[in-house]
């Protein structure tokens, strides 16, 4: 049995620079890093305050100050090289120089079919795999004490140039199945797996899942849309979401007893030299994938161009990201660029440019804001890319006002910033919708919890 969902309100931003369907191993990366800011609302309690300690893959680096059961472990074996701190001594990165041969901490195998939920959960969180499980509402790391209503995995991606999960998982079928079966035991509901309608990968034959057949424009592939269209989140409910390759990491833990955080990263974008998939591990230094990049001319983005995180030339991939996008920086002036129907080479959903007429064309896009921030004036443009049953502008205004009751009424529990990524893109007032939603979520976390 499967549920069909179709997304009409959205936008497919077509860009040049797709990755070839080819997987290559990375040649000995310089370093790996765990970045605590990737986990919202986690304040890290470090086990090693200074560099120098040598750890096996799967050994603990830090835990969450508010919940010591949420443990963060190292994805490779090696020596802690540096602990990078930001403003107010906030821990930004824990950098690990990898060993030539990875040594794993042995957690012991666990037969998924016979193990009970508590044992599975304990193993997953103890090994650090729990950090791959994110909870909605709030988009935070899951709490091991919770039993989620349902668990959602999106096996398709519609974001611009995003890595294709079906291709990534081709050689991890057994692990994926084990991961799914384990997750199915952690919830009272179901594990939902979103697949593009008509795809014919092995994912179709995965057991212990409820298939969601996804059709339509971006953000159809976003797990948030799949939740909203199947069983929207109500106040008080907890839903977990897990990335597709992360499910395989969980599966591998149970099959082998190792925290073997393999990550397949697609290098994409018009500024990328070799566009292909790299087989590496979570948190790899990006120079291992793309070499030296002049970041004054090229923007390095861990993730897709709509939701990703801007990286320095010597930065590290984000914990959850499987796409590395390289696009040109857009530091140029455009004379009389505000004239309608001028500069049609810039992608635009708005009909004030002719570019919407060429819907099949792939664009080379840069990071220009194409304007300046203004008051919210135009109405209706945000709604056109919001497939959720949400009034986007009204919710944004409630977040800006910090009105908890209003936010709750308008559906703050159902959204995370990535659901507003296209709103960022289309709105003519250049309002930072994702930031505003994150701000609203932060208020909810501190005030309501």
């Amino acid at each position: 049995m499967a549920t069909d969902i179709k997304v009409k309100r959205g936008y497919d931003l077509k860009l040049v620079g797709e990755a070839d369907k080819k997987k290559v191993p990375t040649s000995s990366p310089r370093a790996f890093a765990v970045k605590p800011p990737n986990f919202h609302a986690v304040i890290p309690q470090l086990l090693y305050k200074k560099p120098g300690a040598h750890l096996k893959a799967g050994e603990e680096l830090f835990f969450s100050k508010y919940n010591e059961k949420v443990r963060f472990t190292t994805p490779v074996s090696g020596t802690i090289q540096e602990i990078v701190r930001g403003e107010r001594r906030r821990v930004m990165e824990i950098v690990i120089a990898p060993d030539a041969e990875i040594e794993f901490k042995d957690f012991g195998k666990l037969a998924v079919d016979s193990a009970d939920a508590e044992a599975l959960k304990a193993r997953i969180f103890e090994s650090g795999c729990g950090t791959f499980i994110r909870q909605r509402p709030y988009n935070v790391v899951a709490n091991p004490e919770d039993v989620p209503r349902d668990i959602y995995i999106s096996g398709c991606s519609t974001a611009p140039l995003a890595a294709d999960p079906e291709f990534i998982l081709e050689d991890q079928q057994e692990e994926f199945q084990a991961g799914v079966s384990a997750l199915a035991k952690l919830t009272t509901g179901k594990v939902y797996l979103g697949l593009r309608k008509g795809s014919s990968s092995f994912l179709r034959s995965v057991r212990d899942v409820h298939l969601v057949e996804v059709e339509g424009k971006h953000p159809a592939g976003n797990v948030g849309v799949q939740i909203a269209k199947t069983k929207p989140i109500n106040k008080g409910e907890r839903v977990w979401t897990v990335g597709p390759e992360d499910v395989a990491i969980i599966g591998r833990l149970l099959l082998t007893g190792r925290f073997d955080a393999r990550r397949t990263v697609a290098v994409v974008g018009s500024d990328a030299q070799t566009r292909q998939y790299f087989k590496t591990r979570v948190g790899v230094s990006v120079d291992a994938l793309v070499g030296k990049v002049d970041t004054s001319k090229t923007r390095l983005i861990s993730g897709d161009v709509l939701t990703g995180e801007k990286l320095a030339a010597n930065g590290y991939m984000g914990w959850f990201d499987n796409t590395l996008s390289l696009i040109p920086e857009g530091n140029q002036y455009r004379m009389f660029g505000w004239l309608p129907f001028r500069h049609n080479g810039i992608p635009s959903k708005s009909h004030t440019s002719f570019s919407w007429l060429f819907s099949g064309k792939k664009y080379k896009v840069n990071t220009s804001l194409n304007g300046e921030e203004r008051a919210m004036v135009m109405t209706g443009e945000m709604e056109e890319v919001m497939p959720l049953d949400i009034y986007p502008m009204q919710l944004l205004k409630a977040c800006l006002a910090g009105d908890i009751e209003k936010m709750e009424q308008l559906g703050i529990y159902e959204v995370v910033p990535e659901d507003f990524a296209l709103v960022d893109f289309v709105n003519s007032s250049k309002v930072e919708a994702q930031d505003i939603i994150q701000m609203g979520l932060n208020i909810m976390i501190t005030e309501v919890g």
Binding site: G337, T352, G411
Partner: protein, 387 residues
């Protein structure tokens, strides 16, 4: 040195730490008029749509130009055709320009002046909203309005209609209509009656300046055909008369999706419905307007202009999709109703739009409330199930 470098040099004292740092918003406004700035994305999505607010506003200005050009010609034509037998195209345009250009200049100088002062005082960038308002105002005033009167009305509209509410995006009432309504109540003799709609009608004997609606309200006969009304060679506010030209503007707004088709269509339907209702009532119930055919109701006066360019102002209109339907429909209904039933003033579009501006937030409130109720109901049913 390239043009861009020259501008950067000129702008230097206005940047942070510069001598005239305080006036940065003003300098920035001029700069962004020439160039779309080089600003790149800092947070959020790394790539953005080519559209910005300036482009949106310029699209509306573009849509207004056909009606404006016709209005300039018609201003000259309406006067000249009454004092001489033949009127040359350029003769009429020339005369119209001498009247309309000063009106536009006064509107922009006063309005943008106030906007600049507020931007500098509040330290935010100048919003582009006034680009449209500033052009709309001269287009909806009678041709003989004294320039000082336009200046005072603009100042009132921008200060009390807009900045008092917090500036662009926050205002409750359409600023251009606020200016007109202010002038209408403050200087009624200049804004209505039989002598203001044609140039010099009050001064030169033999030139009459009565609008169609004005005549009907007095139960006079009208000498214009339906095609005159479509073409727009009739007296009226500067640019409201030509339905053809307004339709070109509407086409631009609809093609670019800058104007809401829902509001335009529902207002048109509302106007037709109300016109039909009055048509079936006994003739001359109030005055000649009762039996004025419904299709001509739609064509004359400011109805089309108001529906296409004023009712669709996104800030003061309803913001939700359902809300837009209701809002537009009621504007249509009230426009014709005020026209026919109100004895003091033969045109109702301005009042109808301002009235619905006031009610738009209420309409939206109920539409959004439905979404909230749906969410609450979903919560209720799931808790019931699990209980």
């Amino acid at each position: 040195m390239s043009f861009r470098e020259k501008i950067d040099k000129l702008k230097k004292p206005f940047e942070k730490g510069g001598k005239y740092e305080k006036y940065r918003p003003a300098a920035q406004a001029f700069d962004t008029f020439l160039f779309v700035p080089n600003e790149t994305t800092k947070t959020g999505a790394h790539v953005r749509d080519a559209v910005d607010l300036k482009r949106v506003m310029m699209t509306v200005d573009l849509a207004l130009i056909p009606a404006l050009l016709f209005g300039i010609w018609n201003a000259g034509y309406q006067y000249l055709s009454q004092i001489q037998t033949e009127v040359g195209l350029w003769e009429a345009v020339g005369l119209g320009l001498t009247k309309v250009i000063p009106m536009i200049l006064v509107s922009y100088i006063v309005g943008l002046g106030i906007e600049f002062i507020f931007a500098v005082k509040r330290g935010h960038d100048v919003n582009e909203g006034y680009l449209v308002t500033g052009l709309l105002i001269p287009m909806i005033f009678p041709i003989d309005t004294p320039l000082w009167m336009i200046a005072v009305s603009v100042a009132f509209a921008v200060l009390l209609g807009k900045e008092a509410f917090g500036g662009t995006g926050m205002n409750l009432l359409n600023p251009a209509l606020t200016a007109r309504a202010f002038a209408f109540f403050a200087y009624p003799t200049y804004m209505s009656g039989g002598e203001v709609w044609v140039m010099n009608a009050g001064k030169v004997d033999g030139v009459s300046g009565e609008t169609i609606l004005g005549k009907l309200a007095l139960n006079d006969d009208i000498a214009y055909s339906t095609s005159d009304m479509l073409m727009g060679m009739i007296p009226g506010s500067v640019a409201e008369t030509s339905v053809y030209m307004i339709l070109i503007g509407a086409a631009i707004l609809l093609f670019t999706k800058v104007g809401s088709w829902r509001i335009m269509l529902s207002a048109l339907i509302g106007g037709i419905v109300m016109g039909l209702i009055f048509n079936v009532l006994p003739a001359n119930l109030t005055n000649g307007l009762t039996s004025f055919p419904w299709y001509q109701h739609i064509l004359v006066g400011g109805f089309m202009f108001g529906v296409v360019f004023m009712a669709t102002d996104p800030v003061t209109a309803a913001q939700t999709i359902k809300g837009k339907w209701i809002y537009g429909f009621l504007i249509g209904i009230f426009s014709i109703m005020i026209r026919v039933v109100n004895p003091a003033y033969p045109e109702g579009v301005m009042m109808a739009i301002l009235l619905m501006n006031v009610f738009a937030p209420t309409i939206d409130y109920y539409v959004v409330q439905a979404n909230i109720k749906r969410r609450e109901k979903r919560l209720e049913t799931t808790t019931l199930k699990s209980a």
